[in-house]
Symmetry: C2
Subunit: 140 residues, 2 copies
DNA sequence: ATATAACTGAAAAACATTATTAATTAGTTT
DNA sequence: AAACTAATTAATAATGTTTTTCAGTTATAT
């Protein structure tokens, strides 16, 4: 696309079609996909892209703060083009990860720094449970 | 130990020396160790224990709510014998994970359920940054 | 246009986790 | 207390995930 290329340039990252396509995928979805899903989508446009390129690229993007990495117990890392702190909810059955919108959350990085002595860069708030589709169908 | 065996029995889990030792390790530390560290410690007492046993046991303990699993971007899962929700801070350099004590946190599972329609079981709050030892020594 | 440093794709390697299985063990029943 | 049985263990293999390596290609600066 067009705006993704501009974002890469602004971060001083060399622009390649693969990188722009990966950033496009992440900017076009609210699904918080993992590397395999990103790979499958970019493949439609670049059939010869390698999974290793996807791994290397998301790592670069995380380092550059173009995307953020979310981690889930017992699943692969998921990626999000919204880089500001915002709460998520993950379904422990189907693996869906969603933003929680219209939800008042206090972000309290400074008090956490004072309580811990750490230099804190990021706050991650993740709720785990069962989504509307899965909570009825829970075996056991 | 003694109390760990009782905890296993109360959960209806068959008591074995390996299981009691693994629970002891987790109840005796505030380090939030991963499987490899747990394995090395239990090995002192049971030199023939297998890493696969540690994997299976922590999975069983998480399912039974004897321990909780914490996940960190770019690291293995870590385990915690304190099962109630409490905030953590992780050092992105040395991998240390600490509890944040004396820290007022509002736990808001019900509002999150209302905002999402999920049945929520667990809330995880993780701060990422650099610990006192590491924040001075950050290269680049 | 040319140069060059960085990037890609492919494959191998490293690392993490799960599955399999024969022998052992915990907890129960005689 | 001995026997029984189902579950657990240790070892290994299998699987899955992520990183490394490297030869060839490409993006950017000159
Ligand atoms: Mn998000
Ligand atoms: Mn803790
Ligand atoms: Zn679901
Ligand atoms: Zn540190």
């Amino acid at each position: 696309m067009y705006h993704s290329e501009k974002m890469l340039r602004e971060k001083g990252i060399k622009v390649t079609p693969q990188r722009a396509a990966i950033l496009d995928v992440l900017r076009d979805t609210r699904e918080h996909p993992g590397v395999e899903v990103i790979y499958q989508r970019v493949k439609k446009q670049f059939p010869s892209i390698s999974l290793a390129t996807v791994y290397k690229t998301v790592e670069l993007f995380v380092r550059s703060n173009l995307i953020q990495e979310l981690c889930l117990t017992g699943d692969v890392s998921r990626y999000d083009a919204r880089v500001e702190s915002h709460p998520h909810v993950a379904c422990m059955n189907c693996g869906k990860v969603e933003d929680i919108d219209n939800f008042d959350m206090e972000y309290i990085i400074e008090p956490a720094e004072q309580a811990t002595g750490y230099k804190i860069l990021k706050e991650e708030i993740m709720y785990f449970g069962y989504c509307g589709d899965c909570k009825g169908v829970m075996d056991n």
